[in-house]
Amino acid sequence: MAIPQRKTDIGPPKYDQFLPPAIKKNYGKWKYHEVITPGTMVHVGESGDKLWTVRVASPRLLSTATIREHCDIAEKFCDGFFRYTTRNNVEFMVADESKLEPLKKELTDRGFKMGGIGNAISNVVHTQGWVHCHSACTDASGLVKAMMDELMPYFESKPLPNKVRLAVACCVNMCGAVHCSDIAVVAVHTKVPEIKHELFKNMCELPTVIGSCPTRAISPDPANKSVKINAEKCMYCGNCFTVCPPISIKDADRDGVAILVGGKVNSLRSNPKFSKLVIPYISNEPPRWPKAVAAIKHIVDVYAANARKHERVGEWIDRIGWERFFSLTGIDFTFQSIDDFTFMRDTMRTASTFKW
């Protein structure tokens, strides 16, 4: 078949052609919504129209076969309309209540999981990992799968004081939006890169390599016609490896993950917060990362047992204090949790009013 003539600068198709009729009619005129179950909510328009939404889990990494299955379900129940969420779930919407239960039954029969709405754990924002990135210290998709298998009750049915947003980044570049999450996992290298000096000359551009280092740890090594790395400055970001393959940073034994907690992006009650480091290192344990998963489950459980209604993880900790967070969770406090980078002056305590 002939290849059609390309067009440029057309941008995406206009969104309105993909909006279901009930949405077009009530666009901008919704009155309120109610969460019926963690998998279903209903929006009610000023017109009195109702629109039921069913949210379905997705691994984000989808085969076209599964996307076609989404299409088939949309055709059968939703006149072909459907959408994805910012956390990569799938949503099917029906304006006719009589279609709701058949839709849910079909989803159940096909093995889809519904949930994530309201005070629940929704899908985990994450990055590419070993599936598709050169920089990865771990596999994001695998970690997410192992975590969510364990946290499934909080997705499907078990209520929490508030939403708990989870995220995984597979290296400190953090391509996936996790720094402001209730619980974030970030994978880390822990070792200064090694340089194969004999290969450097042919494969790397000296100025590029020096320029690649965000902490200016790299300087020329004329004797070797290569570069050297100042171990005191290097924080293992891997950028130098990115531009120069003979510099290697991956280390199967030492690469691992760190856990940060207490971030949020909304402004409800308190301002947006960054996540803060509480567990500096857990070994990389594919295929199911048992210790990292247990740590996350433990933090969620302690939060669920102790937080007040509507408190996010970070708000709960702000109320009880970080010293109490560490004592309640039993997490060992380490030097890594003390900021020795840009934020030390803002993060040390400057009063004698702490708890024992």
């Binding site: 941008g11 076209t64 076969a65 409800l268 308190s270 199911r288």
Partner: protein, 409 residues
């Protein structure tokens, strides 16, 4: 097709959460590239390291982004992933699709690529994972002739994205979907032909819930807000109380500005003191609704921690009307880019440039007055600059006071 033994990643087919390994295997049934991707991943799991190389320069003619080069170090062992490039397709606002459109996307991808996708990538694009260099021009022709364009990458405007806003959310303070579409169309050149010092991201949320996390991951965060009174339906307030909500504990007591009261019958709000945090509105969806004079707050500068620490966006314009044809927003964006362009060194995000050059330089550059809504607190030190004009201004004010006999601080 080669059959790989995959005992490690098979473990990730167990358990209730949908499995990405199952997805990869589904695609692998009919696709050589995906099949090798499965074997390649098992190898990563076995050795606990990755084998992808950082990309080469790949793309489509005339564009400077939208395709991300990806090659494997193990191309001989797994030829299907020797090239495994990513194609970013610009998503429609709000991630709505019809099955017909989506099936067409799948058909083209099955023909030229691995059949694997991310729906969606963190930038918002529909991400097609894994194709070969020689397929790129055909892929672009097939998609663009059917109305789909590539997204941004490199030192460009990245694909703008938004929350679903007015399409299905009662709290949206402006039309996020339409603004997202309008800006994407307006700035096509800036998306496809990298002309900036570094990347620039615009994300749009309709209210302070910020469902696209714009405050944390966009150089420009456009967050909906309102002026005027929260609308109260007292009958519904009574219903919440009847259904057992402890309104004093859950709503009044958690209001950060303590501007609400409840006498057992009605909620009263001192709207002048409300900071529009959305807490009460999100907890009493039927009883409380945002005010009706709607617009957005514009914040600038967030970025990830590489390397001197991450930033959250700073409030620059506390309130702006967001109405078609969005001239005010577009003009502001152009002014921001102009200042950034004039002041940035290579690879400096706008937040970093503002830190280097000072907020004053930025605000003056884009023509914004200083106002207290921009800050959390004033500076703590006395090490500040006085320009000649500042002094002339202070002196003129005092001269005026002498005339009127009234101090104006």
């Amino acid at each position: 097709m080669k059959k790989y033994s995959t005992p490690l990643i098979d473990e990730l087919e167990k358990g209730p959460w949908p499995s990405f390994v199952t997805e990869m295997k589904k695609a692998a049934k009919t696709n050589e590239m995906s099949n090798d991707a499965v074997g390649h991943l098992e190898k990563c799991y076995a050795t606990k390291v990755g084998y992808w190389k950082h990309g080469g320069i790949v793309g489509v003619l005339g564009y400077g982004g939208g395709v991300i080069g990806r090659y494997s170090e193990l191309g001989d062992e797994f030829p299907g992933v020797a090239h495994f490039h990513t194609v970013r397709i610009n998503q429609p606002s709000g991630f709505y699709y019809t099955s017909a459109a989506m099936k067409e996307i799948c058909d083209i991808w099955d023909k030229y690529g691995s059949g694997l996708t991310n729906v969606h990538g963190s930038t918002g694009d529909l991400v097609l994972l894994g194709t070969k260099t020689d397929a790129l021009e055909n892929i672009f022709a097939e998609y663009s002739s059917r109305g789909w364009d590539l997204g941004g990458s490199g030192s460009a405007l990245r694909t703008p994205s938004c929350c679903l806003g007015p399409s299905r959310c009662e709290w949206s303070n402006y039309d996020t979907l339409d603004l997202c579409y309008a800006l994407t169309q307006e700035f096509q050149d800036e998306i496809h032909r990298p002309m900036f010092s570094y990347k620039f991201k615009i994300k749009m949320s309709g209210c302070a819930c910020d469902c696209v996390a714009s405050i944390a991951r966009a150089d420009m965060s456009i967050i909906g807000t309102w002026k005027g009174d929260i609308r109260i339906d007292q009958a519904e307030v009574a219903n919440y109380a009847k259904k057992g909500m402890d309104i004093n504990a859950e709503i009044i007591g958690m209001c950060p500005t303590q501007c609400m009261s409840y006498d057992g019958k009605e909620i009263k709000i001192n709207n002048a003191e409300c900071n529009r945090c959305m807490h009460c509105i999100t907890k009493m969806t039927k009883a409380l609704r945002p005010g009706t004079e709607r617009g957005a707050t514009i914040c600038i500068g967030s970025k990830a921690p590489i390397v001197v620490g991450s930033l959250l966006s700073w409030v620059i314009v506390p309130f702006i009307k967001v109405e078609e044809p969005y001239t005010e927003v577009k003009d502001l964006i152009r002014k921001i880019w102009e200042w950034w362009d004039d002041n940035a060194k290579p690879r400096e995000r706008i937040g970093e440039v503002i830190e280097m050059k000072g907020m004053r330089s930025f605000l003056e550059g884009i023509g914004q007055e200083p106002i207290p809504q921009q800050i959390k607190e004033p500076r703590k030190d006395p090490f500040m600059f006085y320009t000649e004009e500042d002094m002339v201004g202070f002196k003129a004010k005092e001269a005026e006071e002498k005339k009127t006999g009234k101090y104006k601080f």
